[in-house]
Structure formats: C-alpha cells, structure tokens
C-alpha cells in the first residue's frame, strides 16, 4: 500500500526522526523545535508537513503559533485500509440480514 510506505518514508529522513523523538517527549512549537535542531525553521516546517500527512504528528493552534504533538492515531494508512474493508464487509452483512429472509432463529 502506497500510504503505508509513506509512513516509513516519513521516518526515513534523520531530521524527521529527530523531530518525532523531540515531540514524543513534549509538545513543541516550530520555533521550539528549531531551537533544538541544527536546521532552519523553514526546513522544520517542511518536515512537519510530511509527518503530518503521514499522520504521525498533528498540531493545534496556541496563540500565534501551532503546537505540534505525536498523533496517537498513528498508523493512519493501515487504519484507513481496515476501515474501508470492514465498512464494506459489514454493510454487505447487514444487507444480507435485511434481505427478507425468514428469521428462523438458527
């Protein structure tokens, strides 16, 4: 699955690994992350965007800046895949039961 790969790709870059490590200890703003890393603020922002798309981090506004933290949903792609599978399967299942068969209790 392409999306599954995206998670690993997101973590294959050393700076993004470091960002995840920092955020695993405490939520941080872009500026705070930049202070802790040997890369510039725009690079940090770009890495955060990749991590956010892979659903590894998320952010919420606090004052004028965004605070980033680890996204506990994690594994977004795998979850989405299973969600699609079970939605379709359980939909079929419910329709089968609705299709006017006698409910003989067996």
């Amino acid at each position: 699955m392409a999306d599954h790969q995206a998670i690993f790709k997101a973590l294959a870059e050393p700076s993004r690994c470091q960002i995840v490590e920092h955020l695993s200890r405490e939520p941080l703003t872009v500026r705070q992350l930049t202070d802790r890393l040997p890369i510039g603020q725009s690079a940090v922002s770009q890495h955060l965007e990749v991590l956010r798309k892979a659903e590894l981090v998320r952010f919420e506004p606090r004052g004028a800046s965004n605070v980033y933290r680890i996204d506990p949903r994690g594994l977004g792609a795998v979850r989405a895949w299973l969600d699609r599978y079970w939605d379709e399967a359980l939909g079929n299942y419910a329709r089968l039961l609705e299709d006017g068969e006698d409910d003989d209790g067996t």
Binding site: L90, N92, R95, L97, T106
Partner: protein
C-alpha cells in the same frame, strides 16, 4: 531510551440488524464468504470462508480449486453473544503467523428480532511493530533500520507482538 505508549485507536463500529442474535451470529460466523468483499480474496476465485466453531478453530478461505489460505483463528466462540477472532493478515492481505490483531464482535438483543452489533478491530499498533520487525530482519544495517526501530518504539508494542507470536 524512549518510553512511549502511543497506540492507534481501535476501529469500532456499531450496527443494528433486523434479526435475532442467533441469526445475526450465524450469518456473521457461517456465511462470511457471502458478505466479505470479493476483491480481498487471497487466492483468486474464492469458494468459501470458514470460521471453525470452537476456540482455537481455524479461520481460512477456500478457493474455487480447493486451495486453502489462512486468515487467522478463533480465540473465543460464545454464540450468540460474542465472537473473538485473531486477524493475521497484513496490510498486503498476506497471512503472517507472527501478526495477531483481534476482531471482537458482540451481539446484543434490542428486541426479539433486532440485534445491536458492537464491532471492534484492535491492537492495530501490531501492524507497525510487525512491519518494523520484518523490515529490520530484511534490512540488516541500512539507513532504514533506525527509522523502523523508532517506529516500533513509537508504537511501543514490539514486545507484546513478539510475545503473541510465540
């Protein structure tokens, strides 16, 4: 080292069906080949999906030519209240004996012919932990190992997945 417990939320679904609990359970466990999406066949040309009605029973599909492919196994068989299955298919729909996630289905009688079903697919973090293990074993010392190891640590459940595999 990192001490992390970040776990993806389980998939949860609730549905109401116009059938008794007995019927709802029987159709879920006994006629999965009629409701599981056909595209997910492991073998191509699926004839049946079997959930053996006992704890420890197999959960597998049978192709048109009689070949069998495992999906997992039965962990708890409590008709008509509850079914607990081990889902052991990875994200490429391949059976992996080292991967154990859980599908729990509970049936509640709302009215005599109306059943509420509470569905949960959980321990999704094991997909990540297992992927990391497999990747690490294939990878050796490349640049990927570090990120996979980090990912496994992030998901915090490598030990548990390994234990479940044993």
């Amino acid at each position: 080292m990192m001490e992390l417990e970040i776990r993806p939320a389980p998939l949860r679904k609730t549905l109401l069906v116009p059938a008794s609990r007995q019927k709802a359970f029987a159709v879920f466990a006994g006629r999965m080949h009629e409701w599981s999406p056909a595209v997910q066949s492991l073998l191509g040309g699926r004839r049946d999906i079997v959930i053996e009605g006992r704890p420890g029973g197999r959960w597998y599909e049978i192709s048109a030519d009689g070949a069998e492919a495992d999906w997992g196994r039965v962990l708890a068989w409590e008709p008509p209240h509850r079914l607990l299955l081990a889902w052991q298919l990875d994200a490429d729909f391949q059976y992996d004996p080292g991967l154990v996630t859980e599908v729990e289905v509970r049936f509640f009688e709302e009215e005599p012919r109306r059943t509420r079903i509470e569905f949960e697919h959980r321990h999704l973090e094991r997909f990540g932990a297992r992927a990391a293990e497999v990747a690490a074993s294939l990878d050796g010392e490349g640049g990927w190992s570090g990120s996979f190891a980090l990912y496994a640590a992030l998901l915090g459940k490598e030990q548990e997945a390994r234990h479940a595999a044993g």
